[in-house]
Structures are given as structure tokens and as C-alpha cells.
């Protein structure tokens, strides 16, 4: 009973907590942005715009329905898994204690005059570093064949809705939880050490100021059919919804592009940036041919495990060391 209550709470938290991306307020702002985009930029009729935003073919597609089920089931799985994972507090304590035994990074004596800047600096740094580790993790999910098997679940979506973020295999969920814990633990402990405990987050409605902006300005449109693109100079700094949609494209030239979440400069720096083109048509999925069970729940849970098993079996049976290395660690075939 207690667990069931906790379950319902976790579900509703996703929609009522401004720290979460699918918080109703952000979904509403995403709607407004789409509406403005379609009526004022794309010059469509009001009725037409609304019809397009709430397209039944998209929200009620087989692919979208699978997203919804995965959302509900993964919460249960994560409820049991996450207590087993290392906590960010344990990581933070470890890092904080370690910092006392080194001399490269030393606590700053803070000049009281700059005090007001520290929370903004800290909040921004945290957001940027968190975004960077997301970039790295996402790139690895594509480049390491074992991880790609897991990440395929997300890319198997044929239609994109804001809830497609939950179309994620629980193993990937665990990887993301660990990434988040490591980032939080390390960044917070380091700042706490350097600034002698005088640090606070700048928040709006309890959410990090910059996450709040990121979500308010349409983070939910990354997974949608509303193809909003920015000026190309801006797409080198911030990832536009269209750019992430390109990341989901089945076209070969779109593979392994735009791993970034909020910032595009990571992609720019590491050569994985793809600027959107307004005339380009984008189809979502892994390949053109539809797999018979690609939206079957059991298949979605099991296929990454089968894929990993096959990879390992291949690796063990292969005698050629060169082939081994290529196939296992960095395989150019993945995306």
C-alpha cells in the first residue's frame, strides 16, 4: 500500500514538480511556443495550428502509446533499482574529503563584495557541467556498441511526443541516474570546498534557474513534430528542437549528430554538430523498415539484452583480435 502510494506520487511529481521536464507549466509553455511558431512564423491559420499541435495521429500512434506504457512501468523498476545505486551524498562526501588532502585546489577567501555573484556563477557552472556530462554520456551511448544496444530503445520511436523522453530502457535509466549522481556529487562537493560552504543555488519554483529557462523555452519540443529551428549562429550555441529531431532521423547523414541537450557548443567543439535546414524532411526511427515488434513492450525490454548477448557471443567466438577490438569498443557501424 505504502509502495503504491509512493508510485502514484512519483508519477504525479513528474507533472507537478517544476524540477521535472514534463511539469504541466512547461508543457503549456511548449504549446504556446508551438502555437506562436505555427501562426506567426509559418503563417498557418489558428485552427490549423491547434489541429497540428494536438495531432491525434501522433499522440495516439503505436509508438507514442508504447512511450506511455514504458513511462508507467519504468517508474516501478527504478523504484526498486535506485536505492541500490550509489548516492550522490556518498560521492560528495568522498570528493569533499579527498579535496582536503590535495593542495592544487584551495578554498577561496571570499571577498564579501562579490558574494552576490557566487550563487549565479555556481548555478550556471552546475548547469553547464551537468549538460557536458549529459553530452558525453549520450555520445558514448551511440559510439559504444554495447551501450548503443540499450540506447536503441529511445531511438526506436517513430513519433516524438514530450513523453518520448521516457521511452528509455531501465538500464539506460540506471546509467543516467549514476551520471547525475556523479555530476552532482563532484560539482557540489568541489564548489562547497572552494567557497567554504557559502554557496546556494539560484532557483525559480525550486528549479535551477537555467534549467527553468531551458524548460520554459520549449525543451519539450525536442521530442515533438513541431520543427522549430534557430538562426544557424544560435544553433552553434543552443540545440534547437529541430536539431534534436535530426538526431532521431533515420537518414545516414544525420547519424551520430547533435548529442547535446541544452548547449550545442559541445557538438561544435567535438565535430558532431549538424545545423538544421528548413527544407529537410525528417523521418524518425532506427531504420526505414519497420520491425514487426518495435512497439511491443516485451520486445522493448528484452531486445537490448538479446543484442548485448549477441555482441558478447560474437566477441567470444571471434578469433581475430583486430575484429574483436573494432566490433566491441568503437564500431563505426553504430550511430
Amino acid at each position: 500500500m505504502e509502495i503504491f502510494y509512493q508510485y502514484l506520487e512519483t508519477i504525479s511529481e513528474n507533472f507537478f514538480d517544476p524540477k521535472k521536464r514534463v511539469f504541466l507549466g512547461y508543457l503549456f509553455s511548449a504549446f504556446l511556443i508551438s502555437f506562436i511558431w505555427l501562426t506567426f512564423v509559418k503563417k498557418e491559420k489558428i485552427k490549423q495550428s491547434i489541429y497540428k499541435i494536438f495531432d491525434k495521429k501522433i499522440f495516439m500512434s503505436k509508438s507514442a502509446k508504447a512511450d506511455y506504457v514504458l513511462f508507467l512501468l519504468n517508474i516501478i523498476i527504478l523504484m526498486f533499482l535506485s536505492p541500490l545505486l550509489i548516492s550522490q551524498l556518498a560521492i560528495a562526501h568522498f570528493v569533499f574529503e579527498y579535496l582536503h588532502s590535495q593542495t592544487i585546489l584551495t578554498p577561496l577567501g571570499i571577498d564579501i563584495n562579490y558574494m552576490w555573484m557566487i550563487p549565479i556563477f555556481f548555478t550556471f557552472s552546475y548547469f553547464v557541467l551537468d549538460d557536458f556530462t549529459k553530452y558525453v554520456t549520450h555520445a558514448l551511448m551511440h559510439k559504444v556498441p554495447l551501450l548503443w544496444e540499450i540506447h536503441k530503445t529511445h531511438h526506436s520511436a517513430r513519433t516524438l511526443t514530450p513523453l518520448t523522453i521516457f521511452r528509455t530502457h531501465p538500464i539506460e535509466g540506471v546509467i543516467f541516474v549514476v551520471r547525475s549522481a556523479l555530476t552532482q556529487g563532484i560539482v557540489i562537493a568541489t564548489f562547497y570546498y572552494v567557497y567554504g560552504g557559502n554557496i546556494t543555488f539560484v532557483t525559480i519554483l525550486g528549479a535551477n534557474l537555467f534549467s527553468f529557462w531551458f524548460h520554459l523555452f520549449g525543451s519539450n519540443l525536442r521530442h515533438s513534430h513541431i520543427r522549430i529551428n534557430y538562426w544557424s549562429w544560435l544553433e552553434k550555441i543552443l540545440i534547437s528542437p529541430a536539431q534534436h529531431q535530426i538526431h532521431h532521423s533515420i537518414k545516414k547523414e544525420h547519424h551520430n549528430k547533435n548529442f547535446g541537450v541544452a548547449f550545442a557548443f559541445w557538438d561544435y567543439m567535438f565535430g558532431s554538430l549538424y545545423i538544421s535546414k528548413s527544407d529537410e524532411d525528417v523521418k524518425f526511427g532506427i531504420s526505414e523498415t519497420e520491425h514487426k515488434y518495435e512497439n511491443n513492450i516485451i520486445y522493448l525490454y528484452l531486445s537490448p539484452l538479446i543484442g548485448i548477448y549477441k555482441l558478447i557471443a560474437n566477441y567470444v567466438s571471434s578469433k581475430n583480435l583486430k575484429v574483436k577490438k573494432q566490433k566491441f569498443i568503437f564500431n563505426k557501424q553504430t550511430r
Binding site: S101, H154, F176, Q184
Partner: protein
Amino acid sequence: MNNIKFKGATLAKLSFVGAVTFSFMCSSITSVNAGHHGNVYGPYPITEKSYKGTKKNSVSYGGQMARQLLHNSLKKLASKGSPSDPTLAPEKKMLAYLNTKDKSKSLPIMDPKNSSKFPVKQKMIGELSGGANLSGKADKRIQTSWPGNMSGVDVIKFMIKKAGKTKGGVDTRNGMNYPQLISKYTMGAVLYHQACDNYLDEKMTASSKPNNKPYKKGAYYTGKEHSWDEAFGYWGAAAHTMKLSAAQSYDVAKKKDLKAADYNKDGVVDLQTEMTYAHAYYASSYDKKGKTNYLKTVTGAFIDGRKLITAADGNKLSEAELNKIQDYVQIICSNWEDVIAESVFKYAGSVYKDLSKIEKALASGSGMDKAMSKYLKHWGELKGFAMALQAGPDNKSDTFNRMNRMMGFGPLMPNLSQVVGIDSSGNYIKDQGSSIGYYKLHMLKIQNLMADKYALKAKVNDATGGMAALLEEVGTKKSAEND
């Protein structure tokens, strides 16, 4: 017919169970909420059957209050040390407050002193008791927390000797703040040690100080009554503590709230029954922050225990009664121990912060004097309380050894020197310590150790508490999601 009868029996059973449950609930509610409310420690009637005199109140703990005031006075005097005094008057004065039993009522109380804002009833130690000193009651075991393998009482004497010769009682070369060291260690080695390692320990067994005999020949109180009263006196709470808030008890100790202190409304503070001292004061300092209830938990257990002993009416305590007394002792001494551990935790946190300021002063070249004076004061409190913790009945030798090793015999000085021992003529031996960073790490580890081994809740100056709060603020992901 049969059926109805069966139903009746079940109903009767159910209502019986219901009634028992209900009364149980009520009793537990009252013991939580109203149990101690309005209770004052004493007066309690005379139950000692051999007593034929005219006294009406069996409560007596004048000796303990005299010792509370000797401790207060000693602390005051410790900051009056002077290296230029050839007669060593400061040392002699301090030793008087350590050793004298003030039969002639000539030893003045140094703190609290009478003032218009906080008038006090007694001016001389002897007015409370002419037969009590501190040295006779100090821990006689060898102390490993202090260099030189001395007994507790010799450690205090050693500190007094050093304090007398040091300007203001603070040795800035070795880092010793004697007023703090003497005060906090005396709180442990005399007050806490006597209560929990003696009166509430040996003297609460069936054979020692039985309740059907006077405490000593001709006394108007029984063995158990007086043993219990003495332990209460060492705790240092005003008799009417249960009628005050923690903040009021705190202000009474600070001599700021005459109205709260003067329970019998005679216009003066009776230092025997109306004052907050030492351990009770520290308990109130934590409780007034709202997370803990040490002061009333301990004081309430003292009152409940005393009522139980009084109710035995001068007869020997039964096994059940002795067991109940043991329950109260457990509450009193474990919470008392936690209050001291909270202080170790708090001052380890202060020392951590002070060291950061010292690092800053070293880097910027200014503010060192101010930072050092705070550091040495807090280190003295830390060390004193750490030593006090070891004066109790509970010998957690592993915890103590780790704690002592991490803080050392003296504070790590900015030039990285640290006291490591005492030579045969009583001078400190120093060595190079590690780094300020490592010493700060030790403070963190002392906090972790205290939080680990004791049931701490106040956790004042938690050096990593802010970090936990920040992590709490960013929150954890509970669902599997992509970005």
C-alpha cells in the same frame, strides 16, 4: 440462543481489548505530553523512618550546587592568569576553588555575582555547602586524552598551574585556552563523572545505599533518595525546569531572565534551586533550536525517578522498582552523554570553520589575530568536551582513541607545529603536524564519528550539512528518462 451467547462473549472480549488499548494509548499520550508538565524537583516528604527531627523536605543537594558554583568561579579565574605575578596569586586562587571546602563561608562566588539585573541569594560558596570541593570528586582514572599519563584530578591541577602563568589564561604559543579546557574538562571529570559513574551507577544497585536506611547515620534522607538528589544536582537544572521553555532555561544561565529564574517570587535567584548550570545549560542551548529535547527528557526522568523512590516510603526498593530506576538512569545518562557528544560535534565544526579563516589569513596576510583567538577558544572547548565524554561510565575505547588521535594533544598551529607530549618538568613537547587541510579533514571525521556513535540530532555547525542540503535541493531522478 447459543449463537447470541457466542456473540455476547466476543463482544465482551472485544470491548475488553478495546478498553485496554484505549487506556494504554491514553497513558502513553499523557506520558508524552503532560507527564512532566508542571513538575518541580522537590520538595518531597521525609520517608526515612529513623529520623525524628522537624524537617519536612527530604531533598538535599547543596554540595552539588556548591560544586557547580566552584566550577563557574574556577572558569572565571582561569582567564586572570598572569606571567608577571611572582606570588602566583592566580594559581593559588584557582587552587582554592578546586580544593577548599568552605566551612567558614569565606570563599566568594565569582559567577553569578549579585547584580541589580540578576540579584542572587547566596554570595559565598559555604552558604550552599561547607563540605564540598571539586578535587575530592574528580575522576581518578589515568587520562589518555591528555599527555603525561595523569589522573583526571592531576590533569586539572596541571591546567590550573599553566593557566596561572599565562596571560589571560591563553597560551598562544602552544594553542592552549585554559579557561575553556579547565571548564569543559571539569564538567566531565567531576559533574558528569560523579553523576553517571557513581551516584547513578554503583549507588543505584540493591546493596549500595539502600532505601530503608539513612544515607549516613542521623540523616533525614534515605540512601537512595540522597544518591538520586546528588546526581540531579550534578545535572545542573533548576528545580522548576519543567515549567520553563528551553530558551528560558538558557537565558537563566546567561543571567538574562530574572522572571523565569525567580520561581518562588522572592525577588532573588536562589542558586540552590533556581539557576541553570553547566550541562543543563548546554542541553538548553541545543533544545532551544527545536530539534532536540535533552533538557526536559533528562530532568523529567530525574523527577520520575525521585517520585518512585519517595513512593517506596522508606522501604527497601523491590527488584521491579530497581529495574524501573535503571530505566530512568538509562534515559538520563544516555541523553547526558549525547549532549556532550553534541558539543564535541559542534566545536569540531567551529574549529573547521576557524581553520578556513586561518587559511584565508595566511593567504591574505591579515586577520590572523582574530582568527587565532576564536580558533583557540573553540579548540579548547572541543578538547575539553572530548575529554569530558571520556569521564562517563561508558568506555567506548575505540571511539575515544580515534577521536583523541584525530584532534591531538594540542591544536595544529598555523606554522604546523602541534603539542605531542609533556617532558618530565611539565613543559610541552612539540612536533611538526601534517597540513591544515588534513587537520580540517580530521575535524570532519570527528563529526562523522560522533554522528555515527551517538544519537545526535542537533548537529550544530555540521561542516557538510550545507552540502547535503544542496544535494537535497537538486533532487534525485526517480524515473528512467532521456534528454
